[in-house]
Symmetry: C2
């Protein structure tokens, strides 16, 4: 196997790097947790060392490019562009990679690259156009058109979590973005856990503070009524987001990834039905809603695909 | 002036054709109302005659291509693809034009070509990417990315009128698409007229059956409370649509056209404010909402732009 590119993925708590072949096969992989100080440059330096280790291990016929997925906004030049990611202010990822490896480097955010990874190597291999929803702690997304990430005018296309859903419903939760009733505020892993605690308390059962969305889906899988209700309300919000995206772009495929999508058909089954309900007649039965195929590796493999484009 | 293309625009009640120069200048133009029988092929034949008349008038140096805008869905081959437009079933517009004029011909629907016309020659001349909302009897739209219409997987991208807005609000009107509370059901010219009649009746004033959205905006311009309320509720629905599109695509410009947009700042002023309210913080203050610049000619000039691409 020829390892075509070296790919990095910096998430909220974990960073990984891996060698990847032309056809998306994952080679040797290394990981590092976030240092306790949450200092971006120090974490980056450790990951550059891991990358050097991978290259030394792989021997001659080294990769020809580097791709980086970052868990937050990056600008067109590959620099972290937001103050929102503590410890990473203004870090120039592209330049750091170029200096460390002497190779060209491309960088994008994890949601955009999750979309590209699924399109190139995952659930959307048969199409050049898709939307990718990542449903984990929050809800994000990315759009791939003609095999390329659509970044938008400011690199923030695919803000599917903040598509307004119930902005005027005073019973809807406030969202981190400053609005009320966004898709994310009702369909994210955090929201599902919160609503799960509420639903348990409402039926007089213990509602552990550390309840997870995974546990809510497990209970839904056991047909527990409280959990089915929570699941169905999250699905309704997510379906609103998916239907809105389809009204705008008329895409053949929508891929649902992120930790919450690991629930599989417990999420995807009802979601498909509610998306159809939320679509106008002219769009019904035309698009497929699929589970992500690359699990935790959508963004890393998307970073690899991006580097291969160069 | 060299008349580069011959452009046609078939609307609901009126068809036009015109010669158009490379830089979007409108030359001689002819129009025909819909024949009483609503027979597509007969109307088409009359318009082909009008086109021949224009060419004869223009003399040598004839156009090199034909572009057609049609007020309903057309397939990738330039054929009317819907049963929804009475009298036009399966009419092959592209082939008819080729046979009549011996020139290459491209066809798309009026909303997509309104978007392209505004991008090439109108309110979006300074950008390669925009969304165009057409607000007239209904609400439609089109998306232009990198200077090309994004038609979507089935040629029906830009269904902005059917983005769900208040699908669970039982007080929201039913929409022609079979759902409830779509953007169109609250923001279209038809909806504004309907809500205007209701609002007048509610304050005990005469509510004429033939009240128009234009009259509602005129009354809003005179600060009549009933009309301001109707206007603001329509603006809220339209802002929801615009914000949803921006969350998906992060576009630099959104253009609002169609008959209702003739209200100008009476519509656009409050719309800009409500769009900002409906956006997540990360997208606020970044995109411009502009009135269409080509008035009733967005789609015709879009058809011209499409023909020039060939």
């Amino acid at each position: 196997v020829t390892w075509e590119v070296l790919a990095f993925d910096f998430g909220g708590t974990k960073a990984r790097c891996a060698l990847v072949s032309r056809d998306g096969r994952l080679g040797p992989t290394r990981a590092q947790g976030r240092p306790p100080s949450a200092d971006g440059p120090r974490w980056l330096a450790r990951m550059l060392d891991e990358g050097r280790g991978l290259l030394a291990e792989a021997g001659p016929g080294a990769p020809r490019a580097v791709g980086v997925s970052f868990g937050g906004p990056v600008d067109d030049e590959g620099r972290v562009s937001s103050m929102h990611v503590a410890g990473w202010e203004k870090v120039d990822l592209r330049r750091s990679m170029r200096e460390a490896f002497g190779l060209p480097c491309l960088v994008d955010n994890d949601a955009n690259l999750g979309a590209l990874g699924e399109q190139r190597f995952g659930a959307g291999r048969d199409t050049a156009h898709l939307a990718y929803f990542t449903v984990s702690t929050g809800v994000g997304g990315g759009v791939v058109l003609q095999g390329k990430v659509h970044r938008g005018a400011h690199g923030i296309a695919g803000e599917f979590g903040h598509i307004p859903f119930r902005p005027f419903d005073l019973a809807a939760p406030e969202c981190a973005c400053g609005k009320r009733g966004c898709v994310e505020s009702l369909a994210s892993g955090r929201a599902i856990a919160r609503e799960g605690r509420r639903a348990l308390a409402a039926v007089g059962r213990p509602a552990p503070d550390d309840l997870t969305a995974e546990q809510v889906f497990a209970a839904a899988g056991r047909d527990e009524t409280w959990a089915l209700g929570v699941r169905d309300r999250a699905v309704e919000a997510l379906a609103h987001g998916v239907a809105s995206v389809l009204c705008v772009l008329d895409l053949p495929v929508v891929v649902i990834g992120g930790g919450v999508a690991q629930a599989g058909e417990l999420l995807l089954g009802p979601l498909r039905g509610r998306v159809e309900d939320a679509l106008p007649e002219v769009l019904r039965g035309r698009s497929q809603v699929r589970q992500a195929a690359l699990g935790d590796f959508s963004s890393l493999l998307g970073a690899a695909a991006l580097a291969m484009e160069d």
